[in-house]
Every structure is written in C-alpha cells, then in structure tokens.
Symmetry: C2
Subunit: 307 residues, 2 copies
C-alpha cells in the first residue's frame, strides 16, 4: 500500500474538502511536512510568502489567476493548478441566462411598474435562430455551446489556435475576432484575462454586433473597454449588454451602466456561492487522486500563456 499523500489546506479546510481528501486516501498535515497545498480562499491575501521545497503542487481556488501571476506568487519550482473547469457549467448557465434575459428585455421589464406590451413587445427577440460568437472557447465557453444549441442557436467560436471547437458551426482565431463578430448576432465573452486580451472588445468590435446585437461578459471586466461599451449603448450602436464582471469592479455607484435600460449588471455572482465549496472540493479531489497516481493534473497554470 502506497504512503498517503500529505496535503496542507490553508487558510482552513471545508467540510466537503476534508471529505474528498479522506476519500482520496490522503492526510491533512502542516505545511512544513506537506507535499501539496490546497489554498481555500479566492484571494492571495495571507498566502505564505515562501513555500517549503517539499511542496510539489499548489491547488488554487480561482479560475482566473491573473493577480497570482502578477504578484509573482506562481513559480516554476512546482506545479500550480487553478480551478479552471470546476465552475464552468454554473458560469455557462449564467451566461446563457443573461443572453436570454437581454434578448427578451428582462432588464427593461424588471424596472417597469406598468403594463408596457404595446411599446415593448416588438423589442422582444428569440434566441432560436440567432448566431452567437463565443469569444474564448475554454471550459466556460465550450460549456455554453450545448446550451445555446439546445435553444436552436448557432455558435461561432473564437480561440487562439483556430482549431475546430465541437458544436460550433465555425471556429476562427482571435486574429479574426472582428470577422467572427460580424458573422454573429450576439457575443459571449468567456476568454482569460491577460495582457493580450485587455480591451479586446472596443468600439470597433461592438460596431460589428450592431444595434440589434447583445454582449454578455462572463469572463473578466478588463476584456471589455467600458467607456466604448457605454458609448455604444448610449448611442444605440449596440442593442444591450449583460455583465457579470466589470471594469472597474466593483462598478462604482452613479456609473452610467447602472441605469441604461438595456443593461443587466450582476455583481460577479455567476458561480453561485452555495455551489462553490462542493464544486471546488470535487475539482481538488480529482487533482489529488491524479497527484497520488502520478497522472497529469487538470487546469495547470501556464506561466507563458499567463493563465
């Protein structure tokens, strides 16, 4: 029988995490004796300033790890894994729900206190028959595809390689982003936040979606140029937007986005809090099993790609 893996869980463990660690045949120890570290907070605040040599793998809790990389926390002396994939289905559900909400004018209707069928019925559109650009076909973007196609929508995928994405009618590389947006009615932004993707969606990209197009951002606020978005919405150059992430974030009070009739802001809640612990525990548990078995870990952080 192999020696059990010794894992440190900091700042502190959770009930579902303790259960999966036990199920994986591993034991929780102090950091100084551990081979692996599972970090159970979404923020790096309080993360150890240096790690013992014995730590061969660190599991982080966030899907987006930009601030960990920028801070220099992630090093090349051991394996680091993010939570990419752990929350994808829940976040994809939010994205598709936000898109339907936009098309069906829920933000507008939610603010009415009178029956506005006559004025607003003509504004309501159906997802069926529309073409949606998924910008960033990682685990969240790919999880959106079967949901969208179940409603009878088509998907154009945009990724770095241009390699065909399953379920998409066409896949374009990020260099051809404008073409992809021109082919699509609406877009869901699901890419990683990196130096290269900052303000990926600006005035030119929003113009490709046009007055009847809707933008959903489920990724990170800095992928969209907020000022350009506000201008497009105010001028009618874009049909509407639903944002779970913003730049700046939190979105300040009195920001024009709060009161535009065709905008739905959700405060970075696409991954429901109540699901987070069990889903992270399942993800970390699978990686713990792989670590013990010497198999490749899921969601390895790539310092060159920076996510």
């Amino acid at each position: 029988m192999p020696e059990p893996v010794k894992v440190a869980v900091l700042p502190k463990t959770t009930e579902p995490l303790t259960a999966v660690i036990k199920d994986a045949g591993a034991v929780i120890t102090d950091l100084s004796k551990a081979q692996a570290l599972i970090w159970t907070e979404s923020s790096p605040a309080g993360f150890p300033s240096s790690l013992p040599e014995g730590i061969r793998w660190v599991q982080l809790k966030s899907a987006g790890v930009q601030q960990w990389i920028t801070a220099g926390t992630v090093d090349e002396r051991r394996q680091w894994t993010s939570a990419v994939g752990a929350y994808s289905l829940d976040v994809a559900e939010h994205a598709v729900g936000q898109l339907i909400a936009c098309l069906r004018q829920f933000p507008l209707f939610a603010r009415q206190t009178t029956w506005t069928k006559q004025e607003n019925w003509k504004r309501v559109a159906s997802l069926r028959g529309r073409r949606i650009a998924i910008v960033g076909a990682g685990s969240i973007g790919r999880a959106c595809i079967p949901l969208l196609t179940a409603f009878g929508a088509e998907v154009v995928a945009v990724n770095r390689s241009g390699r065909d994405v399953e379920g998409a009618i066409r896949t374009l590389t990020s260099e051809n982003l404008d073409e992809a947006l021109g082919l699509a009615d609406d877009a869901i932004i699901a890419g990683a936040s990196t130096e290269q993707t900052r303000h990926l969606i600006g005035a030119g990209q929003l113009a490709q979606l046009g007055p009847d197009g809707f933008l959903v951002n489920i990724a990170r606020g800095d992928l969209v140029d907020t000022d350009a978005l506000v201008a497009a919405l105010q001028s009618g150059g874009l049909g509407g937007a639903a944002l779970d992430v913003t730049e700046p974030e939190p979105l300040p009070d009195n920001h024009p986005l709060w009161v535009l009739p065709n905008v739905l802001i959700t405060p970075h809640v696409a991954n429901p809090l109540r699901n987070m612990e069990p889903h992270f525990a399942a993800h970390a548990g699978e990686n713990l099993r792989r670590f013990a078995a010497g198999e490749p870990l899921e969601a390895q952080i790539d310092l060159k790609r920076k996510y």
Copy 2:
C-alpha cells in the same frame, strides 16, 4: 390536377401567409366562395357573425381559444383549429429564461444601482441539479423539457392522463398535482385555461414549492390565484415568481406584484411579435396542405375539453 383549395383570409392577409397559401397551391377568395377561413387576428373582434355553409374549416391565430369558445363562435358544423404548437418553442424559451432569471436573481439585480455581491451572492442558485414540475405537458410544456435537461435539471410532468411524458423522470396526473409540486423545487405552469384549471395554483400548491421555490406562469393568468401568490411572496413562503400572464391582465398600475423584489413581470410577450407572422403562416400552411390532402388537421379545437 385537383381543384385548388379556395381560402378566405380575414380581416386581411400577411406577406408570409400569402406566400404559404401560394406554396400550398391554394387560392385566396371571398368568404362566400371559400372552403376554408384563416382568421389573422388574435382577438375575435370583427369575426363574421355567421359563416357560409361552404366553410368546412376555420384556422384561428391564438393558441389559447377560451374566449372564442365562451363566445359561442366555435361550432360543431365544421372543423376549427387553433395555433397550438405554432409558437411553442418560442414560449418555452421564455419560460426557461424566466426560471433562470428567478434562480439567478436577475429581477433583484436589474433594480440595483450599487454593487450588492456581499448581500446577494448567497441568494443565487443554479438550475443544474434542480427538479422542475411542468404543469400541463402540452406542446409548450413538452418543449420546455429538452431545454431544462440541457442545463442538468430534472423534470416532473403533470398532465390529465398521467401517460408518461418523454424526457420527464416521472409523470403524474393533475389529481396528484400537490404531490408533483412537493417533489419539485420549482414549477412552470403551461396548462390550458379552462373552467377546471381556474386557480389551479393556490396557497396550498405554492406551499409545496416553499421558500426556496420559484413559480413561472407562461400559460394564462387565471391558472394562478393572484392573491394567494402575492401573500406567499410577501410572507417569504415562496422564493419568487416570473409571470408572462397575469390575472387581471393587463396587471393594473400599483399592483403589489410590480414592486416585489423577487418577481419578474413580462407583459404577455413570450411569443415575440416579430416571429408571430412567420410562425403562424408556417402552421396555417401545414394545415392547408393537410386540408387539401384530406389528412387530419393539427391543433383541432375540442369543444368537450374546451381547448
């Protein structure tokens, strides 16, 4: 070559309807010479007070035909068909969109002008893993099922016969409605409006859904007891509701439903206006083809069932 079917189109035809009539090899004539009548308004206002004997079939434009039956317009001297099925996919999309909107607290978030993650993140729930009662498994209810299951939800169906509905984990008869609601987290009301279904959902049924349950009504307002719904929402006995139809309808200004934080009212717009003409034309065209070929028509109105 058979004689072309002579069809009257009143009050007036539409472009897509004229096209399908031509495609079906039929011709548009006066009512006095016609074998069939296609009525192109959703309301009976202006409908001929008596029809020539020559009219063997009348196609109406609404899915819900209660007011046509009550007015005594629908008779047994000829065939009458409704638009049941013509708009089902679009309406099902609205229903599922409304359910996700409730679960993800879009009505609450749409009314904020400040970032409320800390207070409200814990309220956000995922459709995945929930069990949804579909009350009335007609064409709209059945169209909801593959959408819900694509998100990882389970469906309990309720219909008159109790005959198994495809895609549902269980089907119960309407006599066992309370049991079905007790098995479910949330409910989508998609049944026909008849004398028997008036106030089908009252205080007892809402209590089965409970404080974390959501109600969506996409059918007709009178299936839900509005006063009981308001009471359940105000007391926290029900998690929230999304209504595309209300009783009374239109919902009057100053009605308490307009301002409850967990309620989304859409003003009977689930079937987008822009899709209505083409989808009705496709439905009427298929029935015209069947009429010419002597095949059974789709969506025949049954005066005994009253829909």
